[in-house]
């Protein structure tokens, strides 16, 4: 018995009428753990933005089941964060509580403990007062995971959580992800490492603007699919002709 969390119907997402995700059909089931795999520019991050509701579909639709914005936790790529801003780890991680505390209430003593617990869970116990700018790449990624922990959301979207991260940190953070999976949260992660996906992620969606494969990881990540994913034509054709698929 499976219950869908997101249902995608003929979904096209993109910018200025150029598709980044083209005619995608399928469903992310509640409690599933899916890797999204593909070359650069294949529409992976765009898909996450669409799932969050930040980007409106050019055509088709995304159906969300029993979901509010607060039920979706998002882990942005590390480069989106302004590390020169004079904030502490506490400031960064406590953003995960914003939905609960609202924008104006103070962080309570109990919530301070929650923050400490979340930091300990990602191996950053006692880092509350450290400036964000002094963290290493791995430490920053760990603190972002702590923020997701605090959000306590049904759906967790991870955008390249392991890029430029050492193997010790990857295995620590994978165990955090496995715990979320065990807790029946829906996990969708953009990843580049096919071996890591095979050994840890049950399902995989391969994108090359067009959907290449979507299913059990060992089936989806077959050599011919990987080849298709790599051969994707990245070029942005200004005068590409209009797509008629689905219009008729």
């Amino acid at each position: 018995m499976t219950v869908p969390q997101f249902n995608l119907r003929d979904l096209t997402l993109g910018y200025e009428a150029h598709p980044a995700v083209h005619h995608l059909n399928g469903a992310f089931e509640a409690g599933s753990m899916t890797a999204v795999y593909g070359a650069n520019g294949s529409g992976k991050s765009t898909l996450l933005k669409g799932l969050m509701g930040e980007l409106k579909p050019l055509s088709g639709s995304i159906e969300r089941f029993d979901l509010d914005t607060r039920d979706i936790a998002y882990l942005p790529q590390v480069r989106e964060i302004d590390r020169s801003f004079p904030a502490s780890v506490h400031d960064l991680v406590s953003l995960g509580l914003l939905r609960k505390t609202g924008f104006f209430a103070a962080v309570s003593k109990q919530q301070r403990e929650e923050i400490a617990t979340a930091l300990a869970a990602v191996g950053l116990a006692g880092f509350e007062r450290r400036p964000v700018g002094s963290l290493s790449g791995g430490q920053l990624q760990r603190s972002l995971f702590a923020r997701v922990l605090l959000q306590n959301a049904k759906v967790i979207l991870l955008d390249e959580p392991f890029s430029a991260i050492d193997s010790k940190t990857v295995s620590d953070l994978l165990s955090v992800i496995n715990r979320w999976h065990f807790e029946q949260r829906t996990i969708i992660a953009v990843l580049h490492d096919a071996d890591l996906i095979r050994s840890h992620f049950p399902d995989t969606l391969i994108l090359a603007r067009e959907p290449v494969a979507w299913g059990r990881s060992k089936d989806a990540l077959k050599p011919e699919n990987m080849l298709k994913a790599r051969r994707m034509n990245e070029a942005w054709d200004e005068n590409a002709s209009w797509c008629n698929e689905g219009a008729a």
Partner: protein, 290 residues
């Protein structure tokens, strides 16, 4: 007694000096924290552009009712907000970035302002608007500046957390709330309102100086955001006081004296602060074990 003569008697003997001090200090209280956020958002020059953008509004107010407070202030705020809104909208809808569209709109706005003033006024009026007259603040001007200061501090306290989130991790804020662009626009409104408040005292151009220079100094001394804002305010307050004293004793224009004092504080910070030029430039002699 000589210290008393130098440090206090100008303000005790002369009403205009007292008013100037109150006005400049009230401005420091609100404009300096705004400057800190402008700097941290890499918008240090935005304040400058907005100060120019205010001009046509103030000029229309001036054309309608001469050098009077309310029409010029209202006009300035409206013109500033129009430019902020237009450039924000253009950057969101086109490939042009906000700094580019802002440059476009403020230059048009500035030219329009100068043209409007030249229709009726003289160069002296233009100088008054551009460089202000801190020694001629009347009761109404002071009430206006203190109101602006109060409203700014209260608003900043209310939007503090989303504003910090918007600076630190805008994509994340976008994922949990649509409040980001509202906060950004509220912040720009505060910038405009403070510049308009400042132009009574310092003129549209020098008002930016009181906003940015203390913030720049504070960045070199402090690591934490809260302390940075507080130090910027303190530097602003001290600059106002010393600047007015200097202008009184030497007999130079007071607006520039205040800004130059803030500039001197910035120079001191560059030379001596922990994150200034000198200490950042040297490799420390000792290092820690971890």
């Amino acid at each position: 007694m000589i210290l008393y003569e130098i440090l206090f008697s100008p303000f005790i003997d002369f009403t205009f000096m007292r008013r100037a001090l109150v006005g400049a200090m009230a401005l420091s209280l609100s404009a300096c924290p705004i400057g800190v956020f402008l700097m941290l958002r890499r918008m240090s020059l935005t304040g400058d552009a907005m100060a120019h953008a205010i001009l046509p509004g103030a000029a229309i107010g001036f054309l309608v009712s001469g050098l009077s407070l309310l029409p010029m202030t209202a006009g300035g705020v409206i013109a500033g907000l129009c430019v902020a809104l237009l450039s924000g909208t253009v950057s969101r809808l086109t490939i042009q970035r906000e700094d580019a569209s802002l440059a476009g709109f403020y230059l048009v706005s500035l030219a329009l302002g100068v043209l409007l003033i030249s229709l009726k006024g003289t160069n002296i009026d233009l100088m008054h608007i551009l460089f202000g007259t801190v020694l001629a603040l009347n009761d109404n001007a002071l009430k206006m500046i203190t109101s602006i200061s109060t409203i700014t501090i209260l608003t900043l306290a209310v939007i503090w957390r989303p504003l910090v989130a918007e600076c630190l991790d805008p994509v994340f804020l976008g994922s949990i709330s649509r409040i980001g662009s509202t906060v950004h626009f509220l912040f720009l409104t505060l910038v405009v309102v403070n510049l308009v408040g400042g132009f009574q005292a310092l003129g549209t151009l020098l008002a930016v100086g009181l906003m940015m220079l203390p913030a720049l100094s504070a960045r070199l001394w402090c690591v934490k955001l809260e302390s940075m804002c507080i130090l910027a305010v303190v530097i602003g307050l001290i600059s106002s006081y010393i600047g007015l004293l200097v202008s009184y004793h030497i007999g130079v224009a007071s607006g520039p004296a205040i800004i130059l004092t803030a500039g001197a504080a910035y120079t001191v910070a560059l030379v001596t602060a922990p994150q200034g030029v000198v200490r950042s430039g040297f490799t420390p002699k000792r290092h820690r074990i971890a």
